[in-house]
Structures are given as C-alpha cells and as structure tokens.
C-alpha cells in the first residue's frame, strides 16, 4: 500500500469520473467503482446538450452562470467531445413576448452571449424551422458526447494512477463504528475489464474516504452505510427520442418558461428530441410509455414540422437525480432546483469519512468534481490545487486541425473524418492499425481499428464498445453490424463469450427500437428480424437457444444419399454427388 490517502468513488457517471480525475491529478490514490458500464446511469441517458445556461437564465441564474463558465472550459479541455452547434431559443406567435424579453435579459445578466434573430434570419440558419415562428435568440449551446467525455475522464484518472472498476456493484459499505472504511463490491466477472462468463468474485476495497456519486442511486448507498436520515433523491424520468438524421444542425429550444418536449439537440448523425419529467419511485424500474414518445413528436413539430413525417429510430429514458433539501416541499418535479448538494455525512449523520453528492447537471460535472475534491482534500489534509479546468482530456491535446485521413489510413474521407472527430488527438494511435481495416458499422462509419480500440478499453462487453465507438447506433440499429462487432471479439475472447456479447447487444438495441415501431423503422426492424432470424437462424440457434438437433441423419444428406442412412460413407461419395457437375 502506498502512503497516499486512498479515496473510493462510487459511481462511474460524469460526476464520479470527474471526481476521480480531479483527485488523481492532485496525487490522491483513487479507486472508482461502477455497477455497470461507465455512464450506466443517468449520464449515458441524456440528450447530449452542452448548456449555455440559456435554459436556466430566467428561473435559476446561479446555475445559468455556472453553465456558461463550464461550457467555455469544456470547449477547451474536451474539444473532441463537444460539437459547437450553437443554440436557438425560438419564439412562436403564441409564446409570451414578456418571457422572450426576460430570457434575453437573463442571458445578458448571466454573461451568456446572445443575439436576437428575426424569423427570416433564424430560418436561413435552420431552414426546417416552422414558417410561422416570430423570432429567436442565439446562444452558445453545444452538443456533447457524454460517453466519450466520461471515458476521457476515466482514462485521464487512470493515467494518474487511479483504478477503475466497472461492472462492480457495491454490495456493502464497510464501517468500523461510525467510520466508513471502504466498500465491498461484487465483480461480475472478476476484477479488471468485463469478460462474459467469468465467475464473479467479491472484493473488499478499503480506503480513507468514500464519495457517493451515484446520482439517482445515492439513497441506496446511503442505506448500506446505515445513515439514519434517508438521502431523498427524487428521480425524475425523461424520454429522449432519436431521429434518423439531423433535421437541424443547431440546438433548438422553445422559448417558454418550462415544459415537456421543448428541445431538439443535433447529435452526431441524429437529432435527439427531449423530454418529459415525471417523478418515479425506482430509478431502475419505471414505465417507458407511448404517450411520452408521441408528445415529443406532436409538440416539437410545432418548432420543426418535418419531424412529424421523419423517421425516429429509437427512444430511451433517463432518470434525473434531482434533490432538494428536506422541507422544501416542491410538488412539481420540474420546479426542483438543478443545483447540486454536497452532503457531508459527518455533519449530517455523524458518519465519518463519507460524503454524498446529489443533484446537479451534466454540463457542470467538472465544477462539481472540483468542489467535492476540494472538500475531500480538506478532510484528508491534502494540499493540492485543482487543474482539471486547464489540462486537456486525453483525445483533446494539440488537436487543432482535423486532417484528411483518406490517404494516410486508406479509408474513404468521410469515414476518416468521422473517426477523427470521435477520436480527436488519439486518431493516429488508433487508426494506425496493423492489417486490413474494413468498416464494421456502415451507418456510423466505424472501422475495425476503432472497434478493436473499444474492445481493448472495455473488454468483451459490446454495449460498452458501442458507447465508445457509436457502432450499431445508426439507422439500422445493429441489423448489419451486431454480428460483425461480435466477430471482432474472437481470438481475444472465445466463441461463447462472443455470442453472449452479440445476443446482449442485439437485445439492448431492440429495447429502444421498440419505441419507434411504425412506418419505415418498422420496415427496418422487419428486415433486421428477417436477417437475424431467417437468414442466420439465430432465433433457433442450436448452440445458444433451447433448440436442439439430436439426429442429423434424419435430414437431407445430399443427392445420391438416401435420407435415412446418411452416414459418413454415403455422404462422402463424391463426383456424382452433384447433379450439375
């Protein structure tokens, strides 16, 4: 054991990864444990908006200011995760002029650069905006890839000596008296990267301090620590509906006080429509409902009419880990503050060496990480400055020019360009692949090199590879690439592992696709079903399903063999076997 203080961070979302990086950079020994993949919880299930703060500029100016500050920092330190799309707050004729003015003033008060656009100007930028809009406010919203950002934070933490354990749910918080001394985790496949089918083991991880950064799951960890007062996180579910293409290239917000279905975020090759906000009891088990999907389309078509006729490819739900201090008593969850709270359980519950962080929002994850790291360092007597606001994340170092990778790596330029956008400054290292580098996922232009890099990073879990690379996230939803991604696992992993991973990915894709089952996407799903069912027969695969073939000789053994005696000798007769030869 080193003499450095050891901090255990529970939760591999943006907050947890941000804290892990921050502490590791300050010289603290860090272990991060996450129950699923990185971003398993809320982080991986958001619309990917990099807030300018405009959305909070009227009701919550403190949050708005923080967003704008962090927005600027992320453009700098995480350039390969951010797309500077810009954003618009669009006012329709029926929307309040008074609110429009408040939004404008609010943005100015929060140092958010704004510009008012006439309807014509706005439509010139975004031709698919409704013809009858009044005007719009331009703000510096952006799009961010939350997974790439988390992975980059985790990678940086690892570079600074941190240990990252995914698929390691905490089963107990270890205590000695009133002191928290560590956690017990259950490795779903043994420590290290996740591998299917390896037996699970339990591990006690001891540390000097434990940070509970589990968002909507914070209450459950609090219970394990035996806190007398419950951590009252109020999970609010929200739907996000993914379109087949980018109907807009700018973030489009509705300029209204608050409401469901008021934002369209361009994200990679798609647009994401969001969202709803409904309080739920259990962050892992809540209904995913049809009305939510319909509401997205029926409401947002008022801003972008072609959405109604366009194709949606799937929907997914996320759970906001909203928190409000006891006694606030807000009845409507949309009114709960987006601010974050640091709950030091020493003060709150007389339980030592244990702090929870709740509430907050993705855009300010780094600032939250800084605050909590300051707090932890203070407790541990570590004297070190936060540097996460100035040191670029892995992938964003010295990467000012996106080169054309066509010649260099022998791939077509649109593919090379998109790979480079995803990989940032890691492009050279990843694409310089030894051997043929064919495209594995055509929808998202992901080559073997990138998939292999994903496998190297996350093991045999193809859902994690998907999140790292975007492979299988396009229009066909894995119809043409689930099996290809599985084939990439082989050699490193055995046949059984690869097929397990394939089946798991296939089912995961179906989970979200189900919410887009009409029109062209239903046709697409029928084609996928036919390819994997009729052509590949995976639904009746004798090696992986209940289907068995107990007697091969009962089947056709070829021309010249009688069906009943299909033995080796008969079947092996050659020459005359084939009628046409």
């Amino acid at each position: 054991m080193s003499s450095k203080p050891h901090v255990i961070v529970i939760g591999g979302g943006s907050t947890g990864c941000g804290i892990a990086r921050d502490l590791a950079m300050r010289g603290v020994e860090v272990t991060l444990v996450e129950q699923g993949n990185l971003t398993h919880g809320t982080t991986g299930r958001m619309h990917g908006l990099l807030h300018s703060g405009g959305r909070y500029a009227v009701a919550d100016q403190a949050s708005a200011k923080e967003c704008m500050i962090e927005n600027r920092i992320l453009r700098d330190i995480a350039s390969h995760c951010v797309e500077e799309t810009g954003g618009l707050f669009v006012k329709r004729p029926e929307d309040s002029e008074e609110y429009f003015q408040k939004k404008l003033e609010g943005c100015k008060e929060c140092d958010i650069p704004v510009e008012v656009l006439s309807a014509e100007e706005a439509r010139k930028e975004e031709p698919y905006l409704a013809k009858d809009i009044d005007k719009a406010i331009r703000v510096p919203d952006g799009a961010v890839d939350p997974f790439r950002l988390c992975v980059a934070n985790a990678a940086s933490a690892e570079e600074h000596g941190a240990r990252i354990e995914t698929h390691a749910p905490v089963v107990d918080v270890l205590k000695e008296g009133d002191e928290v001394v560590g956690v017990e985790v259950e490795h779903e496949s043994g420590p290290g990267k996740r591998v299917h089918r390896e037996p699970g083991t339990r591990e006690e991880i001891r540390g000097d301090y434990v940070v509970n950064a589990t968002g909507a799951w914070a209450g459950q960890i609090g219970e394990m620590a035996g806190l007398e007062k419950e951590i009252e996180v109020r999970p609010g579910k929200g739907v996000m509906t993914i379109m087949n293409t980018r109907q807009v290239d700018t973030v489009v917000n509705r300029c209204k006080p608050k409401g469901d279905a008021d934002i369209v975020v361009p994200h990679e090759t798609t647009c994401i429509l969001g969202t709803t906000d409904v309080e739920v009891d259990d962050p892992e088990d809540y209904p995913e409902e049809q009305w939510e999907v319909d509401l997205m389309i029926d409401t947002l078509k008022e801003l972008v009419p072609i959405i109604e006729e366009a194709r949606t490819i799937r929907s997914f739900w996320g759970v906001r880990p909203l928190y409000e201090p006891p006694g606030t008593g807000t009845s409507d969850s949309t009114d709960i503050t987006r601010d974050f709270f640091l709950l030091d359980h020493s003060d709150r519950d007389s339980v030592e060496n244990f702090t929870s962080i709740v509430g907050g929002k993705f855009t300010t994850y780094r600032m939250m990480g800084e605050d909590i790291s300051d707090h932890v360092c203070d407790k541990l007597g570590v004297d070190a400055e936060c540097r996460t606001d100035e040191v670029p994340l892995p992938g964003s170092e010295d990467f000012s020019v996106l080169r054309d990778y066509m010649d260099e790596f022998g791939i077509r330029s649109p593919i090379g360009r998109r790979s480079a956008q995803r990989l940032g400054s890691r492009t050279d290292e990843v694409l310089d692949y030894d051997g043929p580098n064919p495209v594995v996922c055509e929808c998202e232009a992901v080559t073997r090199a990138e998939v292999q890099d994903g496998i190297e990073g996350s093991g045999s879990d193809l859902n994690a590879v998907r999140l790292r690379t975007r492979a299988s996230m396009g229009n066909c939803q894995g119809a043409f690439c689930c099996h290809r991604m599985a084939a990439e696992l082989y050699d490193e992993y055995d046949e059984e592992t690869a097929y397990d991973a394939w089946d798991e990915l296939y089912q995961e894709r179906w989970k979200g696709e189900r919410h887009a089952m009409w029109g062209r996407q239903l046709s697409q799903a029928a084609l996928k079903y036919s390819l994997h069912g009729t052509t590949m027969n995976r639904d009746k695969d004798a090696a992986t399903t209940d289907t068995v073939i107990s007697d091969f000789t009962a089947f056709d053994t070829g021309v010249g063999a009688s069906p009943s005696d299909g033995t080796a000798e008969t079947a092996a007769t050659d020459g005359g076997r084939r009628g046409g030869d």
Partner: protein
C-alpha cells in the same frame, strides 16, 4: 393504346415472379409490374418451406408437419398439393442451379451467423455445406471482410454438435484492396479472374485464392467460403477452386448484398422472359379502378402520368413490411396501400411487438388473410374483390421468420394465385 392482359401481377420478387410463371403456363397473357429492386438481394437464396413447429427439434419432413399447423395458416388454407406445386414450379424455373428436390426431407445448412438452419431447397453452390454430411469441413474467412470470423463460426458449429470436424481459417484475400472495399469488389475479381500478386508471382485471382487456402485444408474434404465466389460466372469460379483444391467447395449464404439472392433474381428474370411474360419495370402501382367488387384496372404512376393497366385477374405480390407491401403509421394504422385490403392488427402500436427481440412478434404476422383462392378477405371474412389474389409476403397470419417458412409460403401462395387467375381468366374469355 390501352394495356389489357389476362393477368397482371404486381411485384417482381420471388412470389410475383413465380405467380407470373404459374399464370403464364397456358395461353394467358401475363404482365408483371415491378417498381423497385427485388428484395431477393437481401435474401439468402435458400428456399425454406417449414423449419420449426413449436418444438425443440427442427422439422425433418415439412410435408408431414403441415397437419399440425393451425387452420388459418396459409399452408393449411392452400393445402399440401399447393406446396408441392409451388416447389415443382420453382424447380422447373431454376433448373440445376438448385438442389433439394430429390427428397421431401429438409436439409440442414450452416448460416453465416454460425447457426444451422433447416431448408428445403438450396443453391447448388451451397450443397457441399450440408450439416448432415459427415465429411470434415474447413471454413474460410477473410480479414478484409467483417461479416463473420471463420474460426468463431467453426467453433460455433462444433458447439451445436455437428457430425463432422470443423476448422476455420482467416486469410487475406489475394491482391490489394482499399480498406473499405465492398464484397462486390471481391466477387468481381474472381468473376473476371483478374491477375493478382501472390507470393511474388502474378496469377489469376482464383488460382491465388486456392493457393492461399491449400496449406490449411488438412483432413477437410470440403471448404466453405463466404457467398461471393463470383457473380455472373459463379459456377466457373467454384469449379476452378474445386479443381485446384481437390475438394468440394461451397458458399455460406450471407446477408445483403446477397449474391445467391441476386443470382436467383437473375434466374427468375430469365424464366419470366422465356415464358413471354410482359414486364413493366420502374413505376409503382398507386391505385385501381373497380366496378363493384371487380377490379378493372390498376393505375401505374408513370413519372407523374397515371396509366391504367387493365386485366381480368390481378395478383398482389408487393411483399410485407420489408418490401413495403404493408405500411404502418404512428397512429396505429396498418394498411395495404394499393387496394386498402384489410390487415388484422391492434390499433395500439405498442401491441405490435414483444419485449424480447426473438419473442413472439405480432408485427411478423401482419398481412392479408386469404380464402382458398388466395383472395384477400375483408374484416367480415368475405373476399375484398372477386378477382384479386395475394401471394408472398403480403399474406399474413403466421410468423414466417420463426417458422422458417418465408419462401415456401411465397411459392405456395404464388402457385395457387397463379393457377386460379389463369383458370378464371380463361373461363371469362370463353364466356365473353
């Protein structure tokens, strides 16, 4: 000049082509109206009749299993004789490019997904891959392709306890290629036997391929390749490889673009041409004209101009959800867009699917219900029209993916629809 035929078939896929061939087996004049490329390019080229009932074991004899299907199954409605008629018509159309007609028993073939599948007819090119053949097998894959890994596929076949030893090998396809070369590029290279560099020598692509495989053959008596061994000259490519390697060579059917599917489409096109069937390609049927329950003409949108095509009998072979013969909408609509034939379905689109990807999928059952003359039925169970028949994917009522009955249902419904249309058209001519 007005266009008038005895029989018009709408849709040029497997069902449409076979229905047209059936209808044309007399003096009847037949016209085939096709719009887009055949969905056969997505299909494996295998002709499944019935692979599974609701049991663990695959069906060995589909004809013996038919009696166990529900009464409203298309096979139960059409009857066993119709299935045999459909297969016979198919066998005649494809000649010796297909095998399986020597027995009623299903064949078992490896798929590129690594599973073993029961099927009734298979391309000659796939024949040496039979899983009930106990000769040892080598599966070849290529680093330049991503569809399967040959070693993984071989291991997976072994995991299903196949009665032969199977090995896999991943090779580099001889010659140089851009990283993003498509499967068609490799097929072309073999088709034209283009010169490539192999181990410092220049030789034909076929020879070079054989040379690269040779060291890995071992005890294998047959070698499987991804199904891209040539396009127009596939039989020559395979024969050359077999001669060089001294063992049988077979293709493992693949997904789109599927050469076996495209070759079948070519073969059917030839048969349709040979049968003197008129073809109108490239324009969609958008509407119809009827007198009471009798259709008089279908309306073709010919680049904005609406052209009526008259006939005595019409066959709807526009496909299912994949071929766009069936449309659906967010509001819960499921419809057949040309004639608005009734398609039983729930109005709640969340009833259309099962939670499990391979669960019992209601959408897979979407399609028209038919009478014994293959006429689509309305909600009350009466024919929608007296002279409209349905064939292929547009016919619903069962899940052909789960059963492995997709092509068989196409052939069967096409046979009945074609026969009835031909007979009815002839009768009307006599009576007129």
């Amino acid at each position: 000049m007005a266009i008038r035929e005895d029989v018009i078939v709408i849709g040029g896929g497997l069902a449409g082509s076979m229905a047209a061939l059936e209808a044309a087996d007399s003096d009847a004049s037949v016209r085939l109206i096709t719009h887009k490329k055949s969905t056969l390019r997505h299909a494996s080229g295998l002709i499944d009749v019935l692979g599974y009932l609701d049991e663990e074991e695959p069906v060995a004899d589909p004809f013996a299993a038919i009696s166990e299907l529900p009464d409203d199954h298309p096979y139960s409605i059409a009857g066993e004789a119709a299935i045999r008629d459909g297969l016979a018509r198919f066998d005649e159309a494809v000649g010796d490019t297909y095998q399986g007609d020597h027995t009623d028993t299903n064949a078992l073939l490896p798929t590129f997904g690594g599973a073993i599948k029961p099927t009734a007819r298979y391309p000659d090119a796939a024949a040496a891959g039979l899983a009930s053949d106990s000769r040892d097998m080598l599966v070849v894959g290529f680093e330049e392709l991503t569809e399967y890994n040959a070693d993984m596929l071989a291991d997976h076949l072994a995991a299903a306890d196949v009665p032969f030893a199977v090995d896999g090998v991943e090779l580099n396809f001889p010659g140089t290629y851009a990283n993003d070369s498509r499967v068609t590029r490799f097929a072309k290279r073999l088709d034209n036997d283009e010169d490539v560099e192999y181990e410092g020598k220049t030789m034909g692509a076929r020879e070079a391929l054989a040379e690269s495989v040779k060291p890995h053959i071992g005890d294998a008596e047959r070698v499987g390749f991804p199904a891209f061994l040539g396009d127009d000259h596939a039989a020559d490519v395979r024969a050359d490889l077999e001669r060089e390697l001294g063992v049988d060579v077979f293709e493992i059917p693949m997904g789109p673009p599927s050469f076996p599917g495209m070759r079948l489409a070519d073969r059917l096109k030839e048969a349709v041409d040979d049968a003197g069937i008129h073809i109108s390609a490239g324009n969609p049927v958008i509407d119809y004209e009827a007198d009471g329950d009798e259709i008089e003409a279908v309306i073709v949108d010919s680049k904005g101009r609406e052209v009526p095509y008259h006939a005595e009998e019409f066959i709807l072979a526009t496909g299912g959800l994949v071929g766009k013969g069936i449309d659906s909408d967010r509001d819960g609509t499921v419809e057949e867009p040309i004639f608005d034939c009734h398609i039983p379905h729930s109005d709640d689109r969340y009833d259309w699917f099962d939670e499990e990807a391979f669960g019992n999928q209601p959408f897979a059952h979407f399609g028209v219900r038919i009478d014994e003359g293959m006429r689509p039925l309305d909600a009350d169970g009466s024919p929608e029209f007296s002279n409209l028949r349905a064939a292929g994917g547009v016919v619903g009522g069962t899940d052909p993916v789960a059963e492995k009955s997709q092509s068989g249902i196409s052939l069967t419904t096409a046979a009945v629809a074609g026969q009835r249309a031909r007979e009815r058209a002839a009768k009307r001519e006599v009576s007129q």
